[in-house]
Amino acid sequence: MSAGGRKAGQLVVDWARMAGRISEEGRARFSQLRGRYEACKTSLNSYPEKPQPINWDHYRQNIAIPGLVESFQKQYGGLSVPHPKDTTSASIDKREREVEVIVQETLAKSKEKMKEWQEELAALKAQKPFEDMTIQEYLEDKPELKKLGDEMTRKQEWGVLKE
């Protein structure tokens, strides 16, 4: 359990920036998350930050039973409320590690895709201008189009484009 768990209420969340990065499908769950955050915050703020001190003098003066107030005060002074056990931090960390793995995989895949696309883009841009190209040269690396062309020629559909 890290000490960061003690410092609640110090996080500044940039909701607008986060919302800009959520996809369409995730918007509902994002608003759920935000709702949970706001609910936690309001219920936290409903309790005062420091425990209210008890007015011992008032009780000491008014209660006739001798020693009652002193014994109460002694016991209260010796009392220490334990912090609640942090059970969910571990699961959050575990989840974060899983998500990190998935994200790295996604990033690697997207890098590959980007590389493919960059190659495609370079090939497209390096193409000879159409004025200097013959049909055969154009169809060199497009076998499906070549096949389609041959099929149409065989079936005698000349495919004249309407202006």
Partner: protein, 233 residues
Amino acid sequence: MFSRLVCTVGRLAPATGRVGLWRPLSTCQPRFTNDTPQPVSTSGRTGLAGFLESKTGVTGAGTLGVGMAAYLISKEIYIINNETVVVVVVGGVIYYLLKKMGPPITQYIDERNQKIQDRFYGFHNAQIKEVEDAIVDQQRLDGNLEVRHDIFSVLRENNAMQLEEEYRRRWHEVITEVTRRLDYQLEVQKVQKAFQHSHVVQWLEKAVIDNIKGQEDASISRCIADLKKLAVA
């Protein structure tokens, strides 16, 4: 400078017999001098024509053409006959047609060419744009993945807030219980005191009434006698 030369030629003129002809009429610059500026060629010809123009100037080609024609015709190397008329007329018609019909036909063919080119290049550019858009989109998605840090910090914050809230609730409970017990003691005391008070008052009342119980009639008659005495007085 040349005006002075004209003046000196004028002084030398008597030898040729024209005495008064070249006397300077004014001392200003004369209007026509030999120092006319050469015509500047802006046609920008290259190759053989450029070579000719650099050597013979702007009028060189014209001079060559006219001179050559004059030579051919005068020396009867080319004889003017009926065919010449045909050549001239046909040449003129061809020239006229090219001049008139050339541009529209060129324009029409260029337009068709441009349309075909646009069709091809339109498709090509659309392909390029598609790939570029995909790349930009993918980069944006990769950037979006950064939101996971924020999400996890929010989750941790939620957790921390819940723990803190529990802690505060426990304290609150403790204080509530302690104050409740103390207040209970206070209340018990208060009730006891009130009970004692009312008991003593009742007892006092009862004691007083018992004290005067037997003597009620005597005391009432005495009071009436006192009152009569007072009324009389």
